[in-house]
Subunit: 350 residues, 2 copies
DNA sequence: AAAGGCACCGCAATCGATTGCGAGACAGCA
DNA sequence: TGCTGTCTCGCAATCGATTGCGGTGCCTTT
C-alpha cells in the first residue's frame, strides 16, 4: 500500500523569478513593488510580472519583515473571547484592518495580569505594529510602561486614568441616563445599581452617571442601593444582588453594570422566588446577543459593537501612520432597547 | 507645550548580547538555545545568559523564522466567531498550542467561499505550520487542494467526504440518540427534525442518526417531518419550522440541528402563539452559553467544547511533528442537558 | 615525543527580500 | 568631440539569528 508521497516543493523565491525573467533579483524586486516600479523599464517590468505570475510567486513576508521592520500585523488584547460582547467588536476591527492590508493577532488574557503580560510580550516579540486593548484598568502599570516605550495603542471600552491614549468607547453616561430615565418614567423611585468593578473606567463612569441621573430625576438617592461587583460576570452580578437584598435595602428596579451582571440577577430571582419584572425590573448594558430570548427578554442599553471595533481599527491605523498625532478619542451614542424585564413597579406588591 | 518625545530604541540584538558577553554571536546563539547549550562552556554560557538578561534581550522571531523555516504559528479557520459555539473551542485549542510554544492566528470566513480562500491564502503566506479548520463542507475543493499540497490540517466539528484527514468531532450519532430517547421517554411519537445544511457532514450525520433513532424507538417515521435548513442559524431554523407547520404536518416535538436552529423555533412559537413545551418540545445541540436563561430554558445535547479544541490542538501538533503518521480522528461523547423546553406531549391539547 | 581525540568557540554562509550606491548606455547640448 | 544628465539595472550590504565547518588549545594515549 503506497501512501501518496507528498512533495513539499520549496516555494518560488525572488531569485527564481529573476532568473526566469533574465534579470537581477534587485530588478525583480523593484518591478514587483508598485512603489518602485517606475524605476525599471516598462518592458522588463512586464517580463518580471509575467515570470512571477507563471510560477506563482508569493513574496515571503518573513524575509520582507526582517528587512523592512514592518509586519503588517497588530495585536488584539481581549479579556475573554467567550464574552459575547467582544466577537462583534473584533469583527469591526478586522474589517478595517484587513481593508488596509493589516491583520490582527487575537489573544485572551482571562482577566489575569500575569497572562496579560505574557501575551503582550508575545505580541511584541512578534513585532506587531500596534495594539488594540480591551482589558484596560484605571491603574494599569503595564499599559503605562508600553506607552512610555512608544508602543502604539488604542483602547476600546475602557480607559486608563491619567493616560492620554486614543480610545473608543460607548457614551456610558448617556446610556445610563437612558436606562434611569426609562425606569423613572415607569414610576420607579428606588432604583439600585449593581456597578461593575471600580477598577475599570467603565465601572466608575457608569456608577457616577447613575448617581447623577438619580439626582436629576429627583429619585431616592440612597448610597446603600449601589453595590460593586468584583468582575463583569454573571456570578458576581448574582452575588451583588444577594448582598443587596440581604442588607434589607428595598428597591423596585436594578440598573446592572452590564448584561452579564443583569443575567446574574435572574439567577437570584429564581432562587428567591421573585418575579421579573413584577417584583423587580432590570436593565442591562451592552446588548449582547440572544437577550431577546431570555426569560424575561432583557431591557438593555444597546451600543454599536461593530462601529466600536471599526473606529478602534481606524484610530490605530492613524496612530501607526502618524505617531505624533494628538490622541483622538471617539464616543459612540448608545440607545435603549426596551423589552420585558422592565415594567411599572408594584404590580404584585400589596 | 512639549510633547513627551518618545525614543523608540532599537531592540537589543544577538550581537549586542555577544558583545557584552565578549563572545561571538554564534556562541551567544548556542548558549541561549537550550538545545545547543551543551556545545559551549558552562561558564561562558552563564556569562551570555547574564548579559542577555541584563539588557532584556528577546530573540527576533522574524529573523529566526527566516533561517529555520519554522514560525511556531498555526491558522484557525472559523466560519463565524460570533457563533458562541466557537470561542470555547478556540480556548481549548490555544491552551495546548501555547503550552507547546505555538500561537494561533484566528480568521473568520463568514461562511463565504471567496473570503475563505483569501484568508487561507493569507495564512499560508504567513507561513503557518498547520491549519485547524472548522468550516469544512462535504465537498470542499479548497481543502482537497491544500491536502494535495501537503498542508497539515485538522478538522473540527465537520469533515470532508472522501478526504482522510485527522478530525475531532462530537459523537453526533450518540447525541441525537440521547435527544430522541429523551423525547420518546416523555411519550412523544411524532418528532420532527430541523436538519442542518446537508452540505456539511454534521448536518447529514445528525439527520441520519435521527432517522435511525426514530426507527429504533418505533416512532412515526415520516419523511415530511424532516426539513433542512440552509444555514446553521436562527433565521433558517425559524424558516424551516414555518415551512414544516405550513405543510400541515403534525408533531409534538422538534430535534433541532443545533441550538441556533432551536432558538429560531422560539421565534415561530411567539409568532403563532404556541407554547413551548406545552404545545411543542424542542431539543437543541451544542449547549451554547446562556441557554439556561432562555424562555424556556433549552434542553440540549452538550458537547465538550473545550476538549474538542484541545484535542484538535494536540492532533495538529502530532501532524506537524510526524506528517507521515496515519490520520487519527477523535470522537467525543456528548451528554443530554434536560431543561424546560421538553415535556410530555399533549398537556394543553384537547 | 608524536599522534590522536575532545571541548570549545569563531568564521562565514545562509534564509529571502530590500535598497543605497554606482556603473553603463544613450541622448542632448555646447 | 566631449561633457552633462537621465534612464536602467546590477552589485553588495543589510535585516537578525542559525549552523556547518574548521581551527586552536589541551589532554590522553602509545
Amino acid at each position: 500500500m503506497t501512501v501518496p508521497k507528498v512533495v513539499r516543493m520549496a516555494a518560488p523565491t525572488l531569485r527564481d523569478v529573476a532568473q526566469l525573467a533574465g534579470v537581477h533579483p534587485a530588478t525583480a524586486s523593484r518591478a514587483l513593488n508598485p512603489q518602485t516600479r517606475p524605476l525599471v523599464n516598462a518592458d522588463t517590468a512586464r517580463k518580471v510580472l509575467r515570470a512571477a505570475e507563471s510560477i506563482g510567486y508569493q513574496p515571503n513576508p518573513i524575509a520582507r519583515s526582517l528587512k523592512t521592520a514592518r509586519t503588517g500585523t497588530v495585536g488584539l488584547v481581549i479579556p475573554d473571547l467567550t464574552n459575547p460582547l467582544f466577537p462583534p467588536i473584533v469583527r469591526g476591527i478586522e474589517e478595517v484592518l484587513t481593508r488596509a492590508g493589516y491583520s490582527a493577532w487575537i489573544v485572551n488574557t482571562d482577566n489575569d495580569l500575569a497572562r496579560e503580560e505574557n501575551q503582550v510580550e508575545s505580541l511584541r516579540s512578534r513585532q506587531v505594529e500596534g495594539l488594540i486593548i480591551a482589558t484596560a484598568r484605571r491603574e494599569h502599570p503595564l499599559l503605562e510602561r508600553l506607552h512610555r516605550q512608544g508602543v502604539r495603542m488604542v483602547l476600546v471600552n475602557r480607559r486608563v486614568d491619567g493616560l492620554d491614549l486614543p480610545s473608543v468607547t460607548a457614551d456610558d453616561d448617556a446610556g445610563i441616563g437612558l436606562a434611569v430615565a426609562h425606569l423613572a418614567g415607569l414610576g420607579h423611585r428606588r432604583i439600585a445599581h449593581l456597578a461593575g468593578p471600580q477598577t475599570t473606567s467603565t465601572g466608575v463612569v457608569r456608577a457616577r452617571a447613575f448617581r447623577h441621573a438619580i439626582r436629576d430625576h429627583g429619585l431616592d438617592d440612597d448610597a446603600s442601593l449601589i453595590v460593586e461587583c468584583a468582575y463583569w460576570s454573571e456570578a458576581e452580578g448574582a452575588a451583588a444582588l444577594r448582598t443587596l437584598l440581604d442588607s434589607g435595602a428595598t428597591c423596585t428596579a436594578v440598573v446592572a453594570g452590564n448584561d452579564l451582571i443583569a443575567l446574574g440577577c435572574y439567577d437570584v430571582f429564581a432562587e428567591r422566588g421573585l418575579s421579573c419584572p413584577d417584583d423587580m425590573s432590570v436593565v442591562g448594558f451592552n446588548e449582547m446577543p440572544f437577550l431577546d430570548k431570555m426569560n424575561p427578554p432583557l431591557t438593555t442599553v444597546s451600543i454599536p459593537h461593530y462601529e466600536i471595533g471599526s473606529e478602534a481599527g481606524r484610530l490605530l491605523l492613524d496612530t501607526i501612520e502618524d505617531p505624533e498625532r494628538h490622541p483622538r478619542s471617539v464616543l459612540l451614542s448608545p440607545s435603549l432597547v426596551v423589552r420585558a424585564s422592565t415594567a411599572a413597579p408594584g404590580w404584585s406588591s400589596p
